[in-house]
């Protein structure tokens, strides 16, 4: 009996172990970014170089996994959706510097670490969408979100979402903790409903008349326009770039980090160079409607149609520094409750 049980147990183990395979030319990616955003890029890369890209997608815990795997980790590259996760990887000493002339030429210095520990790939703006039931507001600001005239008219996703925490962190960096608290209180009072859903769901809510204002990233507007079912949602709102007369619109970045023990370092650097290069940056721009960090790559026509805008020139690493404070303040004002 005992023997049978042991045999069965070890058989389970072996079956699992045999699932591991090793391929010749690969690069392994841990991605916080969703598959449909990055998979087209990887396909392109494989087509160009013959290097296979293997991916694990997860929204949570990849850095913990990387940390525990240590030297044995198969991961070469980590893709993140915002700056705080990039910095988090660097601070945990899970990254290694990359000195690549190609990358440094493609990515302007304010969008990469001076030592080359992390690189931003795309910029995303935190926009305010307003309903077309009324006129497009002139000179809307993030401060307006706390203005009592919008009481009961604003929709947003959870304050704890990285995009919103980033926005709050930028507010903290620009205006200090005290002012941010007051602003958040006013913002919260103006909410039409408890924060819920994703960015697109907020635009949908505007269409449905649940609210008049919605917070959302720029590229979602593009994504909605490209989706037959969602186009009416996007068509029901104006896209506004806030704070044009002040600091400029809040910008966060998605980015990449070469892992400390990357086993396929050369391939990984090739992938990084590819992602920073014109072709991939153009895909980011055309397919994902994001703003490429590579200044040589133009934005897509649709994105261009939203107009020029001034972005907050706060260095992105400042966001990461204020991330915890932002989180704390969101809890203090019970933003989600």
């Amino acid at each position: 009996m005992l023997k049978k049980a042991l045999i069965a147990l070890s058989a389970t183990g072996l079956m699992a172990a045999s699932a591991i395979s090793q391929a010749a030319e690969v690069v392994n990616v841990y991605s916080y970014r969703q598959p449909f955003l990055v998979e087209p890029l990887f396909k392109e890369f494989t087509k160009d170089t013959g290097i296979e890209v293997k991916v694990v997608f997860a929204k949570k815990g990849l850095s913990e996994r990387l940390e525990r795997e240590g030297k044995l980790s198969p991961a070469d590259l980590v893709l993140t959706t915002d700056i705080s996760r990039l910095m988090n990887l660097v601070n945990k000493d899970l990254s290694q510097p990359v000195k690549s002339k190609t990358i440094n030429e493609d990515i302007p210095s304010q969008f990469r670490d001076p030592d080359g520990e992390w690189f931003a790939l795309t910029k995303r703006v935190r926009n305010i969408y307003t309903t077309k039931r009324s006129d497009k507001p002139e000179g809307i600001t993030y401060d307006d979100l706390a203005d009592p005239k919008y009481k009961g008219k604003i929709c947003t996703r959870s304050g704890k979402n990285a995009y919103n925490v980033g926005l709050v962190a930028s507010y903290v960096a620009n205006n200090g903790e005290e002012a941010t608290r007051e602003w958040l209180k006013g913002f919260k009072d103006n909410l039409a409903r408890r924060p819920q859903g994703n960015d697109r769901a907020q635009v949908k809510a505007v269409k449905e008349g649940v609210c008049d204002l919605a917070i959302g990233n720029s590229y979602y507007f593009g994504a909605m326009m490209a989706n037959e079912e969602q186009r009416p949602w996007a068509e029901s709102v104006y896209i506004n770039f806030p704070d044009q007369k002040g600091n400029g619109s809040h910008v966060n970045v998605s980015g990449m980090v070469l892992t400390k023990y990357a086993p396929n370092k050369d391939n990984a650097v090739k992938l990084m160079e590819f992602l920073a290069g014109d072709k991939a940056q153009a895909t980011y721009a055309e397919v994902n409607m994001e703003y490429p960090v590579n200044p040589d790559v133009p934005v897509s026509d649709m994105v261009a149609s939203w107009g020029e805008f001034k972005s907050d020139d706060l260095p992105v690493y400042k966001l990461a520094e204020n991330y915890a404070t932002a989180q704390k303040l969101l809890d203090e004002v019970r933003f989600d409750l």
């Binding site: 389970t12 969703q34 991916v55 694990v56 240590g70 959870s158 409903r193 989180q327």
Partner: protein, 570 residues
């Protein structure tokens, strides 16, 4: 009962030749040392993730805790308590009448209803949540119809309850979790003898008051067990409450971990939840102790179900079909509708691979967990010492942890083993083998075993508990060694319990999400991870086929499960 302290005692005693021969056989009196050591090792192995988290929790967490307490923790706890009690109460309201109807009366289509009522268990709660939101939100068909009929124009014109709320979460979770209670209560109601019900009727109880005053109190242990299971599942749920934006303790765990970047504080919160679940589990254990007494006293009389007539029949039919419709048929039809409308989007040749992956992992986890449950259950029965129940309890703690936190806990021992193994191999100057444990589907299977062993352990334990101790004595005196007894008596007799445990773990593993998301190896996609990816992106339509396969894959084991539980009655 004290057991022979093995052979050492004999070694020191000057014994004749024949007696030293005896000494060897004497050492077989208790369980073999392998079994005893194996049980403890296995239990500790499955306990390591929890241990890793306890270790994490012991690190200082600075001000985060105080800050949380001062701000949102109270609301999170309140929400958690409301959610669990709400799901429990609604579960009682939904499940008990259905269970009683199925146990005591004859209504048309009972044969089918009996297992149809179990099917909501095959529905992943996040899929049901998504579908109901789609139906009931402002733009959904229900409100649209309402507006068309009444002429209201916008959300401001009328009140409609928000599905994305605590209440909504309670309803959805109760709808998919009530079968736990239904199954257990039905079994208990069927075990009650006709004479007990008759006695209460002769003493002046109407059928309703006989149900309230006799049937329910007698079924209390089963009901408490069912409630405990629902409570634990609710506490561990993240996908549904996240989708409905209802912050609970699980939310707090993720906030502290991801928002504040403190895994230590998150582990500490998980430890609190662990305590809550341990309480629920001991409540369940306690009630089962009583249950054994009840079962011994049940007579052999088989009662006949009375056939209902008139409005009673209509009401009973309505109730059962309402449960089946809301918990299963309606969401399944919506899925089917999605599949037809979005077939080209949701069809994907890879689905076959995902299905096989799901199947592989779930079968592995179910086999692993069932073997663990059998091994430890027998250890507990045969090694009657004060400590022999500890391994089973240790193994059950994993059930208490939210999947994602558990996944981190699982990573720690697995990566440590990987490092150890590679260290050894490299010391002999062989090339390293890489992440054999944490980088393969073994990690997911192990995580599921840690998370769901409790379910299998419970099932095997209750089934072993029904085997009279005199059968052990009978088989021993008839010449069986302990291991022969296990093979010839115990295993055949707990087959049903093993099957039940296996199927439950299988169904749970098919649906499980967070651990699979984090622990999966490169390129690994299961049905659940595939579906959730689209749910979280608010376009389930495009994964409808995968979701439907997921549900169908759960149906077969559920129907088998129901049949096995029914057969146990006879």
């Amino acid at each position: 009962m004290k057991h022979v302290p093995t052979a050492q005692a004999n070694v020191h005693t000057p014994l004749s030749q024949t007696e030293s021969g005896k000494a060897r056989s004497i050492s077989r009196q208790g369980l073999s040392i392998y079994w005893r050591a194996g049980s403890w090792l296995l239990a500790l192995l499955l306990f390591t993730p929890v241990l890793a988290l306890i270790y994490e929790a012991s690190a200082p967490t600075g001000e985060i805790f105080a800050h949380l307490r001062n701000t949102v923790l109270g609301t999170y706890i309140l929400n958690t308590v409301l959610l669990i009690s709400g799901v429990g109460i609604l579960g009682l309201i939904l499940a008990l009448p259905a269970a009683w109807i199925m146990a005591n009366s004859e209504i048309p289509g009972k044969r089918y209803l009996q297992w149809l009522l179990v099917l909501p268990l095959a529905m992943p709660s996040y899929v049901v949540a998504y579908i109901y939101t789609d139906l009931l939100e402002y733009a959904g068909p229900v409100q649209r119809l309402l507006r068309d009929v009444t002429g209201w124009e916008s959300a401001a014109d009328y009140y409609f309850p928000d599905i994305r709320s605590l209440g909504g979460a309670i309803i959805i979770l109760a709808l998919v979790l009530y079968p736990y209670l239904y199954l257990l209560a039905r079994t208990a109601f069927m075990e009650h003898s006709q004479s007990q019900i008759l006695a209460s009727r002769l003493l002046g109880c109407s059928p309703i008051s006989s149900f309230l005053r006799v049937s329910i109190p007698m079924a209390r242990p089963a009901i408490i067990t069912g409630l405990a299971l629902m409570g634990i599942e609710t506490l561990g749920d993240f996908a549904t409450v996240d989708y409905f934006a209802v912050p609970t303790l699980t939310t707090a765990v993720y906030d502290t971990w991801l928002g504040y970047g403190s895994l230590n504080a998150a582990a500490k919160l998980s430890a609190i939840m662990l305590v809550v679940v341990m309480l629920l589990i001991s409540m369940e254990k306690y009630s089962r102790r009583r249950q054994q007494l009840y079962q011994k006293n049940t007579g052999q009389d088989h009662k006949k179900a009375s056939s209902l007539k008139g409005w009673k029949k209509a009401l009973a039919l309505f109730w059962c079909w309402m449960l089946v419709s809301l918990g299963f048929l309606l969401p399944a039809m919506v899925l089917l509708d999605y599949v037809f409308r979005y077939f080209s989007d949701s069809w994907n040749i890879e689905l076959l691979t995902y299905s096989l992956n799901s199947l592989k992992v779930s079968l592995g986890a179910a086999t692993f967990a069932t073997l663990v449950a059998l091994f430890l259950g027998l250890y507990q029965r045969l090694q009657k010492s004060r400590f022999s129940s500890i391994p089973s309890r240790l193994v059950s703690t994993g059930y208490a942890l939210p999947g994602n936190v558990l996944a981190i806990g699982v990573l720690t021992p697995l990566t440590l083993s990987d490092h150890g193994l590679n260290g050894i191999i490299m010391a002999f100057e062989y090339p390293p083998v890489g992440l054999v444990f944490s980088g393969s589907i073994f990690a997911i299977i192990f995580a599921y075993a840690v998370r769901f062993s409790a379910v299998a352990v419970g099932s095997v334990e209750s089934s072993l508990g029904r085997v009279s101790p005199s059968l052990d004595m009978a088989s021993r005196t008839l010449g069986c060694t302990p291991s022969e007894m296990v093979r010839r008596v115990h295993i055949p007799m707990v087959r049903k319990g093993l099957l039940t445990g296996f199927l439950l773990v299988f169904i749970e593993s098919m649906k499980e999400l967070p651990a699979a998301l984090l622990l999966r190896p490169f390129g690994f996609e299961s049905l659940a991870t595939w579906v959730f990816q689209f749910v979280s992106d608010e376009k389930l339509e495009q994964a409808a086929l995968a979701a439907l396969i997921l549900v169908l894959a759960g149906l077969v084991p559920l129907i088998l499960l129901n049949r096995s539980l029914e057969a146990e009655q006879k």
